[in-house]
Amino acid sequence: MHMPRLAALLLLGLLLSGCGYNDMQAADEEVSANWSEVLNQYQRRADLIPNLVSTVKGYASHEEQVLTQVTEARAKVGSVQVNADQLGDQQAVERYQTAQNELGSALSRLLVVSENYPQLKADELFRDLQAQLEGTENRITVARGRYVKTVQRYNVLVRQFPQSLTAKLFGYPPKANFSVANEAEISTAPEIDFNKGQ
């Protein structure tokens, strides 16, 4: 009497996992691929910074505070890494995002300060670096946008019933998303007060 019911349950289980598992696998791969792209673009930005700092130093050596902040923010970013398999940890991703946002702010401040040095602005190398920086920021935005899309698709897959059972069974936790909590604040360039002592 037990056997038919057991067989039915097993069959149901197989069907369920068959239905959800492949999709989840594919979605997981996509999330990893997109996360790698995000990491690449953030790294590209970090790589531009030494040249940028030395070029600005050549014209605006007194702006020590801003230059130091950029260098420190970059170092901090280097110490906070998140691999694709750590994406289940929302805290880790938030730490990574905060560090990157701080670097972004420091860079904005540096560029605002550079506006006061016409010779720096006219320097070909600085112009090229600025173009590369803008291009990289855009690439970061595109990579993040694509990551967010794939993560949403994955999370929807993993949280819905009956796939959520398969997910728990095979270890597919929901993955972290990018928060846009204070993005508006961060993207506005702060006021620079030149009357404050160096």
């Binding site: 792209e37 673009q41 112009r127 090229d128 590369q132 291009g135 935005t141 819905q160």
Partner: protein, 236 residues
């Protein structure tokens, strides 16, 4: 259930771009929604781009539109590129030159495969040296032609040509100017001599062609390429 969620998801996505105009369909290499270019000018650029595709396989397209609305030109350019899929699949050798005429912004969006030939710094240089100086003088065809020539040169593996300068008009020559004044004076004298009362005549129609007079290449469609947000933007 998954399908419903997906539909909801796509609906949510479409909500987030509410203020942006629809990305237009791709039918030809040069799409001018503002009627800035004359038919002959459009054909000239299309010829140049068609020959490039034959030569190298790369797909370069030009889109001139009034405005990108509330959306930034960077974001809009990426969307158009995703929609049009310029460049060959896997090779990703597509380039989009997008001009938002009323916004006075423009962008060169470069596909993944051409980021080595057209790095951001060179794209910015093309905009700064070839395109915006012309646009500032309202020389749209000249600027676009110049920009396209530079892009083609980079794809062909050649260095950038010299920066754009306004082409010398033959009317700038002082001798020609003098002759024009004399001729004008003579004509006026002649008119007064023949008929003291001057007549008004209406000006003829312009020779601007409403686009869509299909070229000889029988339609153009994207090759499945993609871009990652590389390139440069500018304003004039």
């Amino acid at each position: 259930m998954y399908r419903i969620a997906l539909i909801l998801f796509f609906a949510l996505c479409s909500l987030s771009v509410q203020a942006a105009p629809q990305a237009p369909g791709l039918q030809q290499r040069v799409t001018d929604l503002t009627r800035t270019l004359k038919a002959g000018e459009r054909r000239e650029i299309e010829d140049q781009l068609r020959k490039l595709e034959k030569r190298k396989g790369s797909q370069v397209a030009v889109l001139i539109m009034p405005s990108t609305g509330a959306e930034s030109i960077e974001s809009y350019a990426v969307r158009v590129f995703e929609h049009w899929k310029l460049g060959r699949q896997g090779i990703d050798d597509g380039v989009l030159l997008l001009v938002a005429k009323d916004d006075r912004t423009l962008r060169i969006e470069v596909g993944y495969g051409l980021e080595g030939a057209i790095p951001d710094a060179l794209a910015a240089r093309i905009i700064r040296e070839q395109i915006t100086p012309a646009f500032k003088e309202d020389e749209f065809f000249s600027g676009i032609k110049s920009g396209v020539t530079s892009i083609v040169a980079l794809i062909d593996g050649e260095p950038l040509p010299a920066p754009w300068t306004p082409p010398p008009s033959f009317l700038d020559d002082p001798m020609i100017k003098l002759l024009m004044y004399l001729a004008g004076a003579l004509i006026l004298l002649l008119i007064y001599w023949l008929d003291p009362k001057p007549e008004n005549n209406s000006s003829g129609g312009s020779d601007r062609d409403s686009g869509g007079s299909g070229g000889s290449d029988g339609g153009f469609s994207g090759g499945g390429g993609s871009s990652g947000g590389g390139g440069a933007s500018g304003r004039w």
